[in-house]
Amino acid sequence: MASQDITPVGRSSAKASLLYDPKVRGLVFQVLTVVVIAGLIYWIINNTITNLQRANLASGFGFLDGRSGFDISSSPYLAYSSDSTYIKALWVGILNTITVAFVGIITATIIGFVIGIGRLSHNWLIRKICTVYVEIFRNIPPLLVIFFWYLGVLSVLPQARQSIHLPFNTYLNNRGFFFPSPVFGEGAWLAGVGLIVGIVGALLVKRWARKRQMVTGQQFPVGLTALALIVGLPLLALLIKGFPLSFDYPVLGSFNLKGGAQIGPEFMSLYLALSFYTASFIAEIVRAGIRGVGKGQSEASHALGLRAGPTTRLVIVPQAMRIIIPPLTSQYLNLTKNSSLAVAIGYPDLVAVGGTILNQTGHSIEVVAIWMVVYLGISVLTSIFMNWFNARVALVER
C-alpha cells in the first residue's frame, strides 16, 4: 500500500516539475541564448554587408598587397619605403611593437625589483623613497607619463647644434639620443663564435657544479666563471684577430649630428614611460611576493646557520618567485598592450600603422581583425612561456 501511495505522488510530481527540472530549464535557456546570439550575428553581418555595399567598399584582405604610399619614421629591421606594400608596413609595426615591449619589459623588471625590495628595506629613508615612487606612478595614467616624457622633457631639449654631450661620445638633443654604433671588421665573426661557446660553456659549468655539490657538498663560483667565459671568450677572440672592431662616432655638424646610431624621441619616451609606469606595479608584486614567504622560513634558515645573503638567495627568492610569477606575467602583457599608446605620439607601432591604413583604405574590419590576432597571439605566446617558467619554479611535491 505504502509503495502504491508513493508512486503516483512521485509520478505526478515528476510531471509537474518538468518546468522546474534544472536540466530542462538549462537546456531551454542555452538554446534560447544560442538562437538570440545567432540572430544578433546574422543581423550584424547583414547590416555590415549593406553598409559596405553602400560605401562601395570591397571586403577581404586583398588590399594588403597594394602600395602603402606613406612613410614610417622608424624601421630598424626592414627596408621600408612608401613604395612598399601595406603588409610590409604592418610587419614594420609588429616588429616595432615587439621591440619596445621587449626592452620595456626588461627595464621595468629591473626597476620594479629594485624598488620592490627597497620598500622592504630596514632603512627608513630608502623605504619612503620607494613608497613615494610607487604611489606616484601607480596613480597616474600611462598616457600622461608618455606625454610627460615626450612633450615635457624630450621636446624641450636643446636643438642639434647645442646637443648635450654625455660620456662615451653620446649626445642628447630634441631629435633623440645619439650613440656610437659598432662597425665589425674582417674576422669579427670569431667574437660571435666566442660568445656562443662562452654561453654553452657557462651552462655546462653550471650543470657540472650542481652535480658536484649534490655529491660532495662543495660549492663552486658559478656566477664568476660564467661571467669570465661569456665576456672573456669574445674578447680573447677579438684579441687574436687583432681587434677588428671599430666604432662609428656621431660627429657634431653645423646643423645635425652625423654618423653613429640614433634612437628617436618617440621610441625613447614610449620606452621610458612604459618602463617607469609598469615598474611601479611590478614593485608591488615583488613586495607582496617576498612578504608572502612565511617568517618561519627565514628563521629556520638562520637557525641552520645561513647568513642574510644566502638566506635571501637560496630560501626567500625561490619561494617568492612562485607567488610573483603569475601576476608578473599579466603585467608583462599589460606593458605590451600599453605599447599601443604609441599612436598618441606617433611612434609607428602596430596600432599606429594600422590606424593609418584604416584611414587610407577604410578597411576597418580587416585592420581590427589583424590587431586582434596579433595581440591575442602575443598574449598566448607570453602566457605559454611564462607558464613553462612557472612550472619550472613551482613547488615539486614528493
Binding site: 538549462g26 553598409n51 628595506s121 623613497i129 597616474i140 600599453n338 599601443s340 576597418s364 574590419i365
Partner: protein
C-alpha cells in the same frame, strides 16, 4: 633600638635614563638609518640624491613659478620673446590658471556652467554620506545615487528639456568628460562583470563558453583597439542611417573593456569561497539566485574589494585614452591647449601635464586609500 637590619634594600634607586644612544631620535636614527655600514652608505647616498634634486624641483614648482599673467610672455625668457631673465626656468601655473575653466568643462557653453556645477554638487552631496560608514539611510542613499541621480544629471547636462538649451556631447570636455565616463563606466562594469563571472562559472556549457570567449578576447587586446572598434566598426554593424553619439560609443568601449577585467576579479572571489558555503546554501533549499545573492556574492565581493577598486582606478586612468579617438577629456584638453599660440612656451607642456597628473593622482590615490579603509573595516577576522 634600630632594628632596621634588612638584607634587602627597601628603598629603590632612582631609575636612570637609558644611555643617549638608546632613546629618542638617536635610537630611531640608529635603528632606521645607520644600522649597518651598508645602511649608512645607502642613507648617505639617498640624502645626496635628495639634496641634488629636491631644491631644484621645489624651486621650479614654487619659487620660480609664475602664478598669474596675461599670456605666454610671463613664462618665457627674453630670448624666447618673454620678460623672464635668461636661464630662467619655472612652472607656468599662469597657463593652468588662465585655462582652468577649459580644463574643467571643455567647450561647454560658459553661461551654462551652472548646470555642471549643480551636478557636481549633487554628486558630492550624495557620494560623501554613502562613503561614510556611520551615515544613516544607506539604502535610500544608494538608490538615489545610482538610479535617480544619473537621470537628473543626464537631463541637466544634456538639456533640451524644461527650457534648458541642448548641449551636444561634442561640446563636453575636460574633467567633466573624465568624471562622467568613469562614473557610468564604473556603474556599468561592476554588475556586468559580476554577471560575466557568474556566467563563466555556470554549469551550462554554452553560457560558459560565450563568457570565456568574451572575457579572454577583451583581456587580450589593448583598450585602444576596443575604442577604434567602437568608433569605426560599430557604425558598420548598425542598420544604415542609425548613428550613435561618439561619446556613447567611447562609453560602450570603456565599460565593456572594464567589465572583462572586473569579471576576472570577481571570479577570483567566487573561487575563494569554500565549497561548504555552496553546499550549506543548497541544503537550506535556497534557489540558485538566493544562494548567489544572499550567501556567495556578499562574501566573494568582500574578499575582492581591493581588486575591484584597482579595476575602478584602472578604468579611471583608461578614460584618458579617449583622446586617441579625438575626444577631449582632462588630459586631451590640457594637451590641446599646448598648441594655443597665446601660451606656447617651453614651460607650458610640462606645467600642464603636472597639473593634469596631479588631478588624476588625487582621484586615484583617494580611491585606493578608501579601499584600504573599507578592507580593514569589513575584515571580520574570517581570514586564516
Amino acid at each position: 633600638m634600630d632594628n632596621n637590619l634588612s638584607y634587602v634594600r627597601t628603598e629603590m634607586l632612582q631609575e636612570q635614563t637609558p644611555p643617549l644612544g638608546e632613546r629618542g631620535i638617536i635610537r630611531w636614527m640608529r635603528i632606521n638609518l645607520f644600522a649597518t655600514p651598508m645602511d649608512t652608505a645607502l642613507t648617505v647616498f639617498a640624502l645626496l640624491v635628495i639634496a641634488w634634486f629636491l631644491p631644484g624641483i621645489i624651486n621650479w614648482l614654487f619659487v620660480n613659478a609664475v602664478w598669474s599673467g596675461p599670456d605666454r610672455s610671463v613664462c618665457s625668457t627674453v630670448a624666447q620673446g618673454g620678460i623672464q631673465p635668461e636661464g630662467w626656468s619655472g612652472a607656468c601655473w599662469a597657463y593652468v590658471n588662465a585655462n582652468f575653466s577649459q580644463f574643467m568643462y571643455g567647450p561647454y557653453p560658459i553661461d551654462q556652467h551652472w548646470r555642471v556645477n549643480i551636478v557636481a554638487i549633487l554628486f558630492v552631496l550624495l557620494l560623501v554620506p554613502l562613503l561614510i560608514p556611520k551615515a544613516p539611510y544607506k539604502v535610500a542613499n544608494a538608490i538615489v545615487f545610482f538610479f535617480i541621480f544619473p537621470i537628473v544629471a543626464f537631463f541637466l547636462l544634456v538639456g533640451g528639456w524644461f527650457g534648458l538649451p541642448y548641449v551636444e556631447t561634442a561640446n563636453w570636455g575636460g574633467l567633466l568628460v573624465t568624471l562622467t565616463l568613469s562614473f557610468v563606466g564604473i556603474s556599468v562594469s561592476l554588475p556586468l562583470g559580476i554577471a560575466l563571472a557568474l556566467g563563466r562559472r555556470s554549469k551550462m556549457p554554452v553560457i560558459k563558453m560565450l563568457c570565456v570567449i568574451f572575457i579572454e578576447t577583451i583581456r587580450g587586446i589593448p583598450l585602444i583597439t576596443v575604442l577604434f572598434m567602437a568608433s569605426y566598426m560599430l557604425p558598420l554593424f548598425l542598420p544604415p542611417g542609425v548613428s550613435f553619439d561618439k561619446y556613447l560609443r567611447a562609453l560602450i568601449g570603456v565599460a565593456l573593456f572594464a567589465s572583462a577585467y572586473m569579471a576576472e576579479v570577481v571570479r577570483g572571489g567566487l573561487q575563494a569561497i569554500p565549497k561548504g558555503q555552496y553546499e550549506g546554501a543548497d541544503s537550506l533549499g535556497l534557489s540558485y539566485w538566493q544562494k548567489t545573492g544572499l550567501i556567495i556574492l556578499p562574501q566573494a565581493l568582500k574578499l575582492v574589494i581591493p581588486g575591484i577598486v584597482n579595476t575602478f582606478i584602472g578604468l579611471f586612468k583608461d578614460t584618458s585614452l579617449v583622446t586617441v579617438i579625438s575626444m577631449f577629456d582632462l588630459l586631451g584638453t590640457v594637451k590641446q591647449h599646448f598648441a594655443d599660440a597665446n601660451w606656447a612656451s617651453p614651460q607650458t607642456p610640462i606645467s600642464g601635464l603636472i597639473f593634469a597628473g596631479f588631478v588624476f593622482w588625487i582621484f586615484c590615490f583617494g580611491m585606493s586609500r578608501y579601499s584600504i579603509f573599507m578592507e580593514k573595516r569589513l575584515d571580520k577576522g574570517h581570514k586564516r
